[in-house]
């Protein structure tokens, strides 16, 4: 009995072009498995961004629209309003979502656009060479903060999932990680819930993924996963910060 196969939503023969050990691959696979599971392949439109997340349309066999830097939410808004019957999600990195595109993302959440936002938080600008991003942890060394990020000059990192949860138009906001099997399974469940809430048309749904960037962190993939566990999760706690469908509400 075959218990694992490549999801049908992945393009035939597609090979991920991410760096070795990059968590983007796991997240794209989870995404493809859910699109298969919920049978959304024919009705999905994705707005991709700039950064490592840009390659999504090379791997997924769905309709994608390429957005200018940070404007994925603006394009997703247009797509969803023109075609409300479609399933729309954005796939962005933390620099795209929370720095350049913070206005679009935040106002999209405030308007309660019925789309899903996916933000991959790896605490750095991966594609351009590891510069300091909005989510860079305090003390983390990057190419533009060689002495480490300190608050006097650079301020504090943004906690995106909590900020989005504060917006009244948000129906669901959560943070997950993919550093271990347990977290991968949990991430898939949370993302499925976000998709289902969008399909019910209840409001904006958002999932932040804690991911690794072994190349720019200058670590092996397993060391990078240890960093997620020991440094990132204490700073960016996992969990569901808002869920309007929760029963105990």
């Amino acid at each position: 009995m075959q218990v694992f196969k490549i999801p049908e939503s992945i393009k035939k023969g597609a090979r991920f072009t991410f760096c070795p050990g990059c968590d983007h691959g796991i997240i794209v696979r989870i995404l493809a498995e859910l699109i298969d599971e919920l049978e959304l392949k024919e009705k999905t439109i994705c707005a991709t961004s700039i950064g490592c997340s840009v390659f999504l349309y090379d791997f997924l066999n769905i309709d994608c629209i390429e957005s200018p830097h940070g404007r994925a939410m603006a394009e997703a808004t247009g797509v969803k309003r023109a075609r409300p019957d479609k399933f729309v999600f954005t796939y962005q990195g933390d620099g795209d979502f929370a720095s350049i595109g913070l206005a679009e993302s935040m106002h999209g959440a405030l308007r309660g656009e019925k789309v899903t936002g996916i933000c991959i938080n790896n605490t750095t600008y991966g594609m351009t060479g590891g510069q300091m991003g909005p989510t860079t942890l305090l003390g983390q060394k990057t190419t533009t903060s060689p002495m480490g990020r300190f608050t006097g000059t650079y301020g504090y990192p943004i906690k995106v999932a909590e900020q989005i949860a504060l917006c009244d138009g948000t129906a669901f906001s959560a943070r997950v990680a993919v550093d271990s099997i347990a977290h991968i399974n949990q991430a898939k469940k949370v993302l499925k819930k976000a998709f289902e809430i969008q399909l019910k048309g209840l409001g904006y749904t958002f999932v932040e993924f804690l991911a690794t960037c072994p190349t720019n962190w200058k670590m092996t993939p397993e060391e990078a996963h240890d960093r997620v566990k020991n440094e990132m999760i204490p700073e960016y706690p996992l969990g569901i910060f808002k869920d309007i469908t929760a029963e105990d509400k």
């Binding site: 009995m1 075959q2 218990v3 694992f4 196969k5 490549i6 992945i10 090979r15 991920f16 991410f18 760096c19 070795p20 050990g21 990059c22 968590d23 983007h24 691959g25 796991i26 696979r29 099997i181 991968i184 399974n185 072994p214 092996t220 993939p221 397993e222 996963h225």
Partner: protein, 69 residues
């Protein structure tokens, strides 16, 4: 019979699977990729694999393309 299939064209030698297999059935191979990195191979002479698919769940490049139970 439980086994996995590794696609060598997809494997980028990140070696996450080496630590993931609870029985240590995935090992570094002597074969190299186009870039010169050692690939991984599935070695299961005692038929210990139970098809748990943990390796496939953690592989970031979908290089473990099939898992059979």
């Amino acid at each position: 019979m439980a086994h996995i299939v590794i696609d060598e064209n997809r494997c980028k030698s990140c070696y996450i699977c080496l630590n993931t297999c609870p029985k240590g059935l995935i090992k570094k191979s002597q074969k190299t990729s186009k870039l010169g990195d050692y690939l991984v191979e599935f070695v299961d002479p005692k038929k210990e694999c139970v098809g748990c698919a943990l390796c496939a769940a953690r592989c970031p490049d979908m290089a473990i393309v099939e898992v059979h139970k």
